[in-house]
């Protein structure tokens, strides 16, 4: 009964390819995120969507395009993959409130570009 699930878990692809990562949450949250974790484990926000509307776009190359078809889904499409895109990508969700941001993370997608 996974709260935030993302697929695939592993993705190995060649430079120049286009790939997508899918994310779904069953928590009823209205905010979803994509985070990138690099090889040194540093976590950096990429995008945030609230009620299907893009709220945060943190100077990510425009080869990365998020898409939120509904509140429960936030997919990430990456064009023309580069070696530097290799990382673990985490989807997360939260319920915006005045109580603080408790983000629930998925298990991650390990992307390897060769």
């Amino acid at each position: 009964d996974t709260a935030v699930s993302q697929t695939p878990k592993y993705l190995v692809t060649q430079m120049g390819n286009d790939k997508s990562i899918k994310c779904e949450q069953n928590l009823g949250h209205d905010t979803m995120y994509w985070y990138k974790q690099d090889s040194k484990k540093f976590l950096k926000i990429m995008f945030s969507y609230n009620n299907k509307e893009l709220i945060i776009n943190e100077t990510v190359p425009n080869r990365f395009s998020p898409k939120s078809p509904d509140k429960a889904h936030l997919n990430l499409h990456i064009n023309s993959l580069e070696l530097g895109d290799s990382a673990v990508y985490f989807c997360a969700s939260s319920q915006a409130s005045t109580g603080g941001t408790e983000a629930f993370f998925g298990q991650g997608t390990r992307l390897t570009v060769v």
Binding site: V4, I55, T101, E102, A103, F104, G106
Partner: protein, 113 residues
Amino acid sequence: QQQVKQSPQSLIVQKGGIPIINCAYENTAFDYFPWYQQFPGKGPALLIAIRPDVSEKKEGRFTISFNKSAKQFSLHIMDSQPGDSATYFCAASIMANDYKLSFGAGTTVTVRA
């Protein structure tokens, strides 16, 4: 530009020891400070969080200490166990703008049996 600075990068303690992880921030608008725990191959999970109107918060063996004037906060793991071995991240956000967590660089804690 990293908004939350975390140290040390890694630390090793014996079972029963008290690992301490420190974080510092510059943005005085931050008003929510969570800690996340991440096991290998898993996503981060919320461990404990504090707001700046309290100086200390305990949940089980985990304690956050907060020093608002110094803009620093720390995590103590009391009576640490091998199962606590993980990477710990401090983070900060602005509650009124509840859409973004700024993470520290992470501390890998190893608890030896």
